[in-house]
Symmetry: C2
Amino acid sequence: MLHVIERRNFPASSVKLLASARSAGKTFKFRRQELAVHTLGVNSFEDIDLAFFSAGAAISLEYAPIAVQSGAIVIDNSSAHRMQAEVPLVVPEINGGDVAAHRGIIANPNCTTAIALMALYPLHRKFRVTRIFAASYQAVSGAGALAMEELRQQSKSMISGRAIEREVFPHQIAFNVIPQVDSFLDSGYTKEELKLQNEARRIMHLPSFKASVTCVRVPVFRAHCVAVNAEFQERVTLAEARQAISSFRGIELRDDPTDSIYPMPVNYAGEDVCAVGRLRIDSALENGLAFWVCGDQLLKGAALNAVQIAELL
Amino acid sequence: MLHVIERRNFPASSVKLLASARSAGKTFKFRRQELAVHTLGVNSFEDIDLAFFSAGAAISLEYAPIAVQSGAIVIDNSSAHRMQAEVPLVVPEINGGDVAAHRGIIANPNCTTAIALMALYPLHRKFRVTRIFAASYQAVSGAGALAMEELRQQSKSMISGRAIEREVFPHQIAFNVIPQVDSFLDSGYTKEELKLQNEARRIMHLPSFKASVTCVRVPVFRAHCVAVNAEFQERVTLAEARQAISSFRGIELRDDPTDSIYPMPVNYAGEDVCAVGRLRIDSALENGLAFWVCGDQLLKGAALNAVQIAELL
């Protein structure tokens, strides 16, 4: 988030870093200065105009109202406020206008949701989406820095024939795939899988939208991919679909199968822009498109989107 | 294939290994003997009752008719004969009876197809499938031994910060996913993606079956996974679906989300049995089930299925 604020020249006259007592005193480089981390407390938000929260739902639930009371606007990266009717849930390219209705808190969507919608929304604008079937290929960075280290260490151990150690993920992630991201609901879907449907409904203003999703963790460091089959109300053509994607800000077409060109994590890790490839008329839907979307979940799926919301404000 | 023949005590009085001149003279251990590889030629099939072909479509097209003429029955692992009406395409648990109609050649299905159908067919028998949406997570072993070595070498290089080398796959496979398996058709689907629909039609005797698939290579050494959304004609219940899977030979339920139990490549590499998990009522289909299936594509997806066909004969 600091990198994004700096890189985009966000007009912050000063920046204050807050974390738990455990991290207090650590420093981070920002605009060629060393910023020290302060301990989060009830008085932390005096004189703060904008507060970016990215410390999990429990911290957001406790401290976002305190920050708002102190006069700050909160942009919350956690899932804590995303489904609250009075909290706008915003992807700036899609529903930036919703920001205006905020009452102090604005929610940043789930990473897979944000990335999938960057491809789906321009197609929806053109053809009116009704439902999607999707399967994700999610990088370990979505689970944090320790998860990235776990993939590195496990891969090293496997290659050297040593036993692997496991802490972050419920199973080995190196040279494996895990069909679970977040915890399970009674329906058999995970919370992560349901987020794509429920958050998409709010972001696209489409309460009847349906999504049946399988979220899978793959041994990739950074950047998520999603394979999507989307059904629309109106007749689709490839030319119009390509045009709809190409003319939308924040997403690009990378789609030339004959030369094996399509988006992959190696291309989009570290990139602001998301990308669509494998765009084709769906063979099992009446008015359907199948496509593959890829984006860096630390950027469009998290920090970039949050800073874009701040820019709107 | 040799391992499977030996392990299952297939009643072969003798086994002859055939390959290109390049491999002639190499030896393989079989039943505690060393078997030498002979060079494939037009006279190779004299006194051979059963010939397993696994050397690509071109070799199968040229030599399978020669083997048949010499009196052998050919079990072909390549895609060469799979769509020929007079050639049975067989998964023994599903359409073993089709073997009887052979005229010398029997085809072994595509690996992803065989594994996906082991889960889909018992559900189809109960509920009548109409179409599926699927996304695959395919191990590198499907592309051969060199592909496995490429994943190992690239992973090693990446972890040590060295440049990677690439030969088998069109892009880096270590810590990446590649949304392409096999070559592209005009429709935008790959051949691999279309196989699942077309081969499933023949194996399930269901010419109207539709499948819209995205096939993706993932950095896993062995065992494929497929995320499936399946639509049925009849009303589905979870209890009946679980019962249908449990009572079918060759597939098992591994499905206890509350304890993070579901099939993964680490569990099923080297296993004859395939497995289904993440079974749930599909949230975006009228009569639908979503599930996750996993199986070793060198076994059920190739050698095991071929030897099972031989056992039927």
